[in-house]
């Protein structure tokens, strides 16, 4: 079974839950920017939660199916159409051989996930099918889809059925986030206390260049730095540090002007100071922010961050229960960021 790409969309890529474990050698996590939505899309079509699906950003592709298939679209409200006839999101639907799946314009959110029963069967690279386009790794030939591509689909293994749906209150991330929770550190001491208060008070708008590597924000006041004698190797720019590791979710502010939250395809280290790290429970919400959307950064404690992670986990468990998907076996996923 295969899917022919008629139109590619803006930057449609194959993504699963990513390839953790290689950040030390500079290979990023990759994987879906909204991992909750990816998991649910897979469950709706009877795949393993971590199966490979398509991530469509802002604009959907046009896809022709060579055989019958079971499909679900979750995440952003990017209305699917089958031969031009609307189909619901967050609900599995049947596609007949020869039919074309296309999408109406984006109504809400930023990234939609298209799961197909049997998953998008591109080769595993370092344990993942995710596309890391910057490194030309994984996915389909290490790149975003192009018109004329043919996507291989595996054999459906699950027992999913047409019309399986997710209750509205379990469609996590379907409302646009207005606050991102973050833990200050490790270098927030580099800015003055007044300046840090200003950072939390200001509204920050998503810059149009925000992508899978990092989400850049602008519109808040520039940061004021504490005077220092530059440590050896840091250079004279007050926003620089001696090189350090960059965690997933860390917020760097080059020059003190525009914060960048590092996301799934980020570099693993460098010399910009980090004001804090967005908590893992809120990283999916960033993946659904459109350009010009405004957010505030809210400082939280480690206890609050862990409580938020448990809450996300509980929501996922409710989805699993509602769909009869296995809850056990996800213990590693529970601990992963």
């Amino acid at each position: 079974m295969a899917i022919e790409v008629l139109k590619a969309g803006l930057a449609t890529t194959v993504q699963d839950l990513g390839r953790p474990g290689h950040y030390d050698v500079g290979i990023p996590l990759s994987g879906a920017m909204d991992r909750f939505a990816l998991r649910v899309a897979n469950m709706l079509v009877g795949n393993d939660e971590g199966a490979a699906a398509l991530e469509c950003v802002f604009m959907g592709p046009s896809l022709r199916f060579s055989t019958d298939a079971l499909v679900a679209v979750t995440g952003a409200e990017l209305p699917p159409k089958l031969d031009g006839v609307p189909r619901p999101t967050w609900t599995s639907f049947a596609v007949a051989a020869g039919q074309v799946l296309s999408f109406d314009y984006l109504r809400r959110g930023a990234r939609a996930y298209v799961a197909v029963a049997g998953e998008i069967d591109v080769p595993l690279v370092l344990g993942s099918r995710s596309t890391y386009a910057l490194g030309a790794l994984g996915g389909l030939e290490g790149r975003a889809l192009k018109a004329g591509d043919v996507l291989p689909v595996g054999l459906p293994g699950g027992a999913a059925s047409v019309g399986q749906s997710v209750a509205d209150d379990l469609r996590r991330g379907s409302q646009t986030a207005t606050a991102l929770r973050m833990m200050p550190g490790l270098y927030h001491h580099r800015v003055t206390p007044d300046s840090l208060d200003g950072f939390f008070a200001d509204a920050w708008a998503v810059a149009p260049e925000a992508d899978r590597i990092g989400y850049r924000f602008r519109g808040g006041r520039p940061l004021a730095f504490v005077d220092r004698r530059p440590p050896f190797g840091a250079g004279s720019d007050p926003s620089n540090i001696v090189d350090s590791c960059y965690p997933y979710g860390s917020i760097q502010v080059p020059g003190g002007t525009e914060p960048i939250v590092l996301h799934r395809d980020a570099v693993s280290g460098g010399g910009y100071f980090m004001l804090g790290t967005v908590i893992s429970a809120d990283m999916d919400f960033i993946g659904q922010l459109q350009p010009h959307a405004k957010v505030q950064f809210t400082p939280v404690t480690m206890d609050e961050a862990l409580a938020a992670r448990r809450e996300r986990q509980a929501t996922l468990d409710r989805v699993r229960k509602a769909m009869g998907a296995p809850i056990e076996g996800s213990d590693t996923a529970r601990l992963a960021p």
Binding site: A11, M59, Y105, L106, R107, P208, Q290, P291, H292
Partner: protein, 80 residues
Amino acid sequence: MTVTTVACPLPGTFYRRPAPGQAPFKEIGDAVAVGDTIGLIEVMKTFMPIEAETAGTLQAFHVDDEEPVMAGQPLYDIDV
């Protein structure tokens, strides 16, 4: 004559010119053929051409050059 309003297919920044200092792709009153570029949307460091899906005469722009635009927002009017 029927005037149709065309919505922007994706969010980003709208450009009416291929590059700064160059002439706009289309002016109001210009004839438009299917596949003609009306403008560009810049998002994620990518410039996505907005191509006409119907032929006609360009009547109006609803978004100014270099202005932010959201998906679904009216972008231009065409008299078909």
